[in-house]
Subunit: 334 residues, 2 copies
């Protein structure tokens, strides 16, 4: 592999995404992409006593699912990269404590899924691994409780708020394969433009997405038209609009092929999810469930997936801090 | 690089740890290793209004310190790997939001420092980067508030409790250099032996340390005597004793050259820190301040550094969960 431009890594022997799997909660199961997910849950608890335990079960079962689909034995997976939104990433560590695979915990907020793919691809291309597992999860109820208010309070959500996706996305990347290939990655910098509203994450994260998007184009010499689809993770309706406008002011017209997982996963008119989906599982499940299948079926052949994350917590907001954003990009091609 | 045994990666052209830096708080400044740290703080706030902001300042200034000491321009650092103990790793993301380096957030609890060195080394050896920055922090006051009780409550700490180190460790790894070299890494699996006492982390993490230690020896064919020093991150006095005994039952006698950063950083008799130090900065600052200097001065030439982490949070403990542990090992040699 080689480092090109300021922050992009190009792969000489691009790793293959061998298989993906997705599980989603009841809200996502009523959305436009429902038929693409591997498993749709009827309720948020899935037989567990708490939302946190339910989220752990979701990532655990989804990882079992992707391993089964891949045909690769768990013992042949060299390393696992996983993380989530819960404090100290407990969904991942409790959900994956039994798989017996060396584990790298990562935290990129809602950018975690693409962060895991970036790290996994570098490990494979570098010769450190033959097969890696990448996984993430989020849960609407555990996220609301932790980042905003307990659901029992019945707080009203402002129109700019997004709905954390309940679910998980997981992928197995392998050295030998016939694609879709991870051809390059552009890991992002932390960008903080001074947004303080924790109910407007799209606006807080859009500048980071812009920074990574433009850097990717500059580093690779590619143009927006190179890709069949440019997809952000969870900017939602407001963030999508902001990114489209910001990109245009920088000379990049992405209107023709740009969309956002948070916009795609819910029906804005019928589902009362305000500005759209968010959370680690938004990008994770929509890519694993929908876009991976589109790539496998050659309906699209080149996708730039840019997952965005808001690197704050409830304490930082209470202490008057702004919301730093980050965005990691990965190009996946047939 | 090549993958050997079940989970170890051997480097063909081992990356060099070019420089390290450390900052510690007032308690650590009264301990036996005080003279080795780059900066010792007089109080826990360092001019900030909150402990969280102080922790962010500590990692920020420590990263500036290691960059200055290294002589490498910040613009020549390709990627940064950092994480900490605070919810959503805000110490790292707020502390490093201005350095303008592509950022991978990681979470391995107190194993974070070695996790960052592992990932950084793979990036360099694989050709993805020429220079990487690795950093971590922890803070006694913010950790007590978040994981146990607010300090204002004046809770009594049981004898098995450890004292979270206030401080930061940071390192710059580079492709070209004259050592000390990172020769191999053994990333660990999650190990949960059913310990539930959040005031006895040493016992909870020792089985993970054992698993990684033995795997490292099996994968590499090395014996304990290969190393001048085998150093765990923060098992503390109780965990150190448990690991020593467990290793012996498995046929590995490590008594002659084994110690723990949490044991070394405080004076057990005079400092009232009970079972010793803990936290991301325990391993981070003790390696960056003390062991790196020992390596540079050739007082020791081969060290196996095993950082341990407890992958729980306060919610998981309240929900009756056990404490999963993890340990990542890295061999550093002249």
């Amino acid at each position: 592999m080689k480092h090109v431009g300021t922050q992009t890594i190009l792969f000489d022997a691009p790793p293959t995404i061998l298989e993906t799997s997705s599980i989603v909660g009841p809200k996502e199961s009523q959305g436009p992409l429902a038929k693409y997910f591997d498993q749709c849950l009827d309720d948020e608890f899935w037989g567990e006593k708490t939302w946190e335990k339910a989220e752990s079960k979701i990532i655990k079962e989804n990882v079992n699912g992707v391993i089964n689909k891949s045909g690769i034995a768990a013992t042949d997976i060299d390393y696992c990269f996983a993380g989530d939104l819960l404090n100290q990433c407990i969904s991942s560590s409790f959900g994956l404590r039994e798989i017996n695979v060396p584990f790298f915990g990562i935290f990129g907020a809602c950018s975690t899924f693409v962060e895991s793919l970036c790290l996994g691809a570098v490990f494979i291309e570098g010769g450190a691994a033959n097969n890696v597992l990448c996984a993430t999860s989020s849960h609407f109820c555990s996220a609301e409780k932790q980042f905003r208010f307990p659901l029992e309070l019945g707080n009203q959500r402002p129109p700019s708020a997004q709905w954390t996706v309940t679910g998980s996305g997981a992928a197995i990347i392998t050295k030998q394969g016939t694609g879709p290939f991870i051809t390059c990655i552009t890991p992002g910098k932390i960008v903080d433009m001074g947004i303080k509203d924790a109910n407007n994450m799209g606006a807080a994260m859009a500048p980071a997405a812009l920074d990574t998007l433009i850097t990717h184009f500059r580093d690779t010499g590619r143009k927006p038209s190179y890709y069949d689809a440019i997809i952000t993770g969870d900017l939602g309706h407001i963030g999508k609009e902001i990114l489209t406008e910001l990109a245009e002011t920088k000379g990049y017209n992405i209107k023709a092929n740009y969309n956002d997982c948070g916009v795609l996963i819910f029906d804005k008119e019928k589902q009362d999810t305000h500005s759209g989906g968010s959370g680690c599982a938004c990008c994770g499940a929509v890519f694993s469930g929908y876009f991976f299948r589109q790539l496998k079926e050659k309906k699209i052949n080149r996708i730039l997936l840019i997952a965005t994350g808001a690197l704050m917590n409830s304490t930082s907001s209470q202490q008057g801090e702004t919301i730093p954003g980050i965005a990691h990009a990965i190009a996946i091609e047939n």
